[in-house]
Structures are given as structure tokens and as C-alpha cells.
């Protein structure tokens, strides 16, 4: 899968989901031709059979526009590929038809109990998120768990074990930060931010991974219609504002990816949000570069000067 596809349905059809983005932040690959490094790297790796998959589900409508083309490159290499579209207007009947079509691609629902099983697991994910927001779990640990909910590690037991092994600790929350936008391509940004006095208490996209669920295709379609990244900006910002207020956020880091259309949202987002915003633009994967550390450090100093 190239982005958020209801993993409930994939499991229920007896398949094992794998989010191809998982391998990117640690990747050392320099893609030959690229706009966004996220999609360019998974596309090249899939074409070269460096990620073992039987078939690919591309989220082509309502999130990543580059995936529409990069997904077709993979399709042309011979991998069975299905294109999944979210409705911009949130129409549940449309999403239900998309899920039915996906179910058909995967051979139909064979294990309907997986829906409820995953719904329970997502409740554990919400607890992790809550504890992190209260300073009882480190931002990096919480992020690693939440981001895993896109494919649930392809193994529900493995994810449950990972959740139960998260160590509780006491984190001082003096600069509460919301990290919004696509997930950063840097593998250690949560740790780096924390070292520089910024504690991430909200990860926008990973929160979407634990927020939606359903007991069957019908109810899943209705819940996933609220997936903010696929909806108009007003819908997404309306949701964000409430979430930022609830989490008492002091500042927002807006992560943008080079050559990603989400960069265009930065200006509107700055107008909409009533708190300090730092925009970071990443390009190639790896550790957080020094230029980004400088921005994070200066942002911390800036929040410290807030009246």
C-alpha cells in the first residue's frame, strides 16, 4: 500500500498489508528521477523487486498525487496494481463502492472478525497517543507505534507486542508541538526535536491511522469518510484547530516534502492557525540535517519569547 488504505479490509480479505513508505526514512537510495523522494524511492524499489509484494494498492485519489503516476510505473513492471480513490466530498456511498472494488481485487472478505479485532487494537493506539500527550510516553516511542497503524505491522500480534513493550516515563512538556503535514522523511526528528526542547504531542497523519475503523465495509466506509487528508482544506483545518486546542499546543511544525503538492497548503495553514508555525521542507531520507536542527532550535527560542 502506498498510503492509508483501510487495513481492516486488507486483513479481512486474508491479505497481509505492507506500507511501502516504511522503508523510506532508512533508505540510502538516490532515485534516478524524482520529484518527491517518498514516492520515487518506493516506485524504484518495487520496479526492481527490492520490496517483496504480491500486489500493490495505490492511494491515487485524495492524498498523494505523485503516487498516481509512480503507481502506474509499478503496474507496468508487471505487479498487479489496484488504484484506490477517496471521495473529496466525503460521499460514503462512493467510498463504500471503492472498498467493495478493493475487496474484489483482494478476493473478497474471508475473515470478517478482523474488523472488530483491529478496532480494539486501535483503542490501544489511542491510549498510547493520550499517554504521550500527558508526558507519560516519549514522542518518538508514540510516533513509532502510531505510524505502524497504517499497515498494523502486517501482523496484529506483532503490533500488540510492540504496544505493550512501550516504556512509560516522565517527559517534561514545556513546548508542546503539533507536527502536521505528511510524515517527515527524517528517521530521528522526534528525538532531535525533544533534545532541542520541543515535545511533539500530536502527529497529524499517524493520528488519522488510529482514528478510523469499522465493523464491516459499510461502517468502515462511513468512518473513513472523515479521513482529513483526503478532504477539502476547510474540513481538515477545522478538525486540526479543535485537536490543537485540546492538546494545548504551543507551536506547530508544518513538515512539507520537496515537490509535494501539500507544500501549497503552507500559506493557507499559516493564515488559519492562531499559533507560531515553523515550516520545514525535507528532500532526501536520513537523519535530521543541521539546517533543520537550526530551524528547530530557533523555533524553540522563539516560542520561549512568546508573551
Amino acid at each position: 500500500m502506498t498510503a492509508l488504505v483501510p487495513p481492516e479490509l486488507v486483513f479481512a480479505c486474508g491479505a497481509e498489508p505492507f506500507d511501502v513508505n516504511n522503508v523510506i526514512p532508512e533508505s540510502k537510495r538516490y532515485p534516478k528521477s524524482k520529484l518527491c523522494a517518498w514516492t520515487a524511492i518506493w516506485s524504484e524499489m518495487l520496479v526492481n523487486k527490492e520490496i517483496e509484494i504480491d500486489s500493490l494498492i495505490v492511494v491515487a485519489g485524495g492524498d498523494c498525487h505523485n503516487a498516481l503516476v509512480d503507481g502506474q510505473k509499478v503496474q507496468r513492471s508487471g505487479i498487479p496494481t489496484h488504484f484506490f480513490f477517496y471521495p473529496f466530498d466525503g460521499n460514503p456511498e462512493y467510498l463504500e463502492s471503492q472498498l467493495e472494488s478493493l475487496s474484489g481485487f483482494l478476493g473478497g472478505v474471508r475473515y470478517p472478525g478482523k474488523f472488530r479485532e483491529i478496532s480494539k487494537l486501535k483503542k490501544l493506539g489511542k491510549k498510547i497517543d493520550e499517554k504521550r500527550c500527558n508526558g507519560r510516553i516519549s514522542p518518538a516511542d508514540a510516533f513509532r507505534i502510531l505510524i505502524s497503524f497504517s499497515d498494523l505491522c502486517g501482523d496484529l500480534n506483532k503490533l500488540e507486542t510492540a504496544i505493550s513493550s512501550v516504556r512509560e516515563q516522565k517527559i517534561e512538556l514545556n513546548n508542546r508541538i503539533a507536527l502536521i503535514g505528511v510524515p517527515p522523511i527524517y528517521s530521528d526528528i522526534h528525538e532531535v526535536a525533544q533534545e532541542l526542547g520541543l515535545q511533539v504531542v500530536f502527529d497529524e497523519l499517524p493520528f488519522e491511522f488510529i482514528r478510523h475503523s469499522g465493523n464491516d465495509i459499510h461502517s468502515t466506509a462511513r468512518d473513513y469518510c472523515g479521513y482529513t487528508f483526503a478532504r477539502p482544506l476547510d474540513f481538515r483545518f477545522g478538525f486540526l484547530k479543535k485537536e490543537l486546542e485540546k492538546r494545548k499546543v504551543d507551536g506547530v511544525i508544518h513538515y512539507t516534502q520537496f515537490a509535494c503538492h501539500h507544500m501549497l497548503e503552507d500559506e493557507i495553514l499559516r493564515d488559519e492557525l492562531d499559533c507560531p508555525v515553523l515550516t520545514i521542507q525535507g528532500d532526501m531520507p536520513g537523519k535530521t540535517p543541521e539546517q533543520v536542527k537550526l530551524r528547530l532550535e530557533a523555533f524553540g527560542e522563539m516560542i520561549g519569547r512568546q508573551p
Binding site: Q281, E301, M302
Partner: protein
């Protein structure tokens, strides 16, 4: 105490003695010359190398710029710091900042391309600009490709002085895209010593533009002020 700013291109040290600001400037890699005989506990550092040089405390150049500029112009709304490798725009009223370090167009490096091409010292660009009789239209494209644009304009018949002036306008337009509307704008950084570039900026950017007497040492001064805000 001294404020030590070790940036990408130059190193600057500032002292305030009996209310008087004194400073020294050298190349980045000669920074040790600035702190001969000075104890680590006497140094407040800033700039790219702020954590690599001896220091009692360090602060980012963004915060240092705010404190340094405030010393000279307490009512500044926006600070534009044009450095050797990046340009920082700090909106003091909104407590916000942006940094351009991905593209050399709009940084001191861009003007170095121009000076290198004409085999000139950087300082000469400003003087030559003032002799230009016409300004060729040069796109705000990549600093690396700027040389081919300069050649095109020379082939088209523009003089060296005019092409340099055109480059300054291209540079100023690039900077202006980063600058929010403001009543008072303060320019700092070594590049601001270039009179041609400043005159292009004055023409393009609305609002009152102010430049401190020694724009290159403001961050070193700011580091000092940040640590000891009571120094007059």
C-alpha cells in the same frame, strides 16, 4: 564578555566597553584569532559554528539577530539577514522566521558567482552598479545558471556595469518574495555592504529600509545582548 559569530564565510567578534561597541572581522577559518587570550567563559557564540567554538552559552543566529537589531533599532518590524550561504527573514512583530538555504539565488553566494565571472572583488560590484545606464531584465532563476544569463545579456550589448546592476535587481526580487509587508525593515549581514544591491532592494521593497553602521557584526552583538540584556 565577547559576542562571537562564526558564520559560513566570516567570523565576527564584538565587545562592549564603557558603552562603546568594538568589533573585529576575519575569515571563518581564522576565528581563533578573534579569541586569543579570551577564556571560554567569556564567549557567547552564534552562527553556523556556534557549537563548535568555545563558548559559555550559544544562541541561534535568528535570535541573535533580533537582539542585535533591537539594540540599534528598537522599533524594527522585519529583519532581513543576507548571509554568505543563506538568507533569513525574521518577522519580529509576528515572532516568525523563514530561511532560504536551498537555493543560492538570494544569498551572498549568488553575488560571488557574479564577481567570479567578471574576476572582480565582491566589494567592487556595488560601485560598478552605480555606473549602469540601463538595467537588463534578468530572470530570478538559479544562481548557478546566472552565468549563462549574464553572458546572454553581454552578447545582447549590455555593458559589464549594466549586467551587474541587472543581477542585483534579480537578487533583490528574489529576496522580496520572502519579505512580509512591514513599516520598518532592517537589513543586516555582509552582503548588505553592497550599495548596488541595497539600491535595488530599496526600489523593490515597500517600507522604510534601515541599515546599521556595521551590518556584518549585528549577530555577534546580538549574542552578547541575548546573554546580558542589561548591557547598554
Amino acid at each position: 564578555m565577547i559576542g562571537l559569530d562564526v558564520g559560513s564565510t566570516t567570523a565576527k567578534a564584538v565587545r562592549i566597553v564603557n558603552g562603546e561597541i568594538t568589533y573585529e572581522i576575519t575569515g571563518t577559518h581564522n576565528w581563533k584569532d578573534l579569541i586569543k587570550g579570551v577564556d571560554k567563559e567569556e564567549i557567547i557564540s552564534t552562527g553556523y559554528f556556534r557549537k563548535s567554538v568555545p563558548h559559555k552559552a550559544n544562541v541561534t543566529e535568528i535570535t541573535a539577530a533580533i537582539y542585535g537589531v533591537r539594540h540599534c533599532y528598537p522599533d524594527a518590524d522585519v529583519i532581513v539577514d543576507i548571509g554568505g550561504q543563506d538568507t533569513k527573514v525574521i518577522d519580529v512583530t509576528k515572532n516568525n522566521f523563514t530561511i532560504n538555504d536551498k537555493c543560492s539565488a538570494g544569498t551572498g553566494a549568488f553575488l560571488e558567482f557574479v564577481a567570479n565571472y567578471f574576476k572582480l572583488e565582491l566589494e567592487e560590484l556595488g560601485t560598478l552598479h552605480l555606473k549602469a545606464k540601463a538595467i537588463p531584465e534578468i530572470n530570478n532563476t538559479c544562481g548557478v545558471f546566472a552565468v549563462s544569463e549574464m553572458i546572454s545579456q553581454l552578447v545582447a550589448g549590455y555593458s559589464k556595469e549594466e549586467v551587474i546592476a541587472g543581477m542585483h535587481y534579480a537578487f533583490a526580487r528574489r529576496i522580496s518574495f520572502m519579505v512580509p509587508e512591514a513599516e520598518t525593515l532592517v537589513l543586516i549581514g555582509g552582503t548588505v555592504k553592497n550599495k548596488g544591491m541595497v539600491s535595488a532592494l530599496r526600489e523593490i521593497i515597500r517600507g522604510k529600509i534601515m541599515i546599521p553602521d556595521e551590518p556584518q557584526v549585528i549577530n555577534a552583538l546580538g549574542a552578547l545582548k541575548y546573554y546580558n540584556q542589561d548591557i547598554e
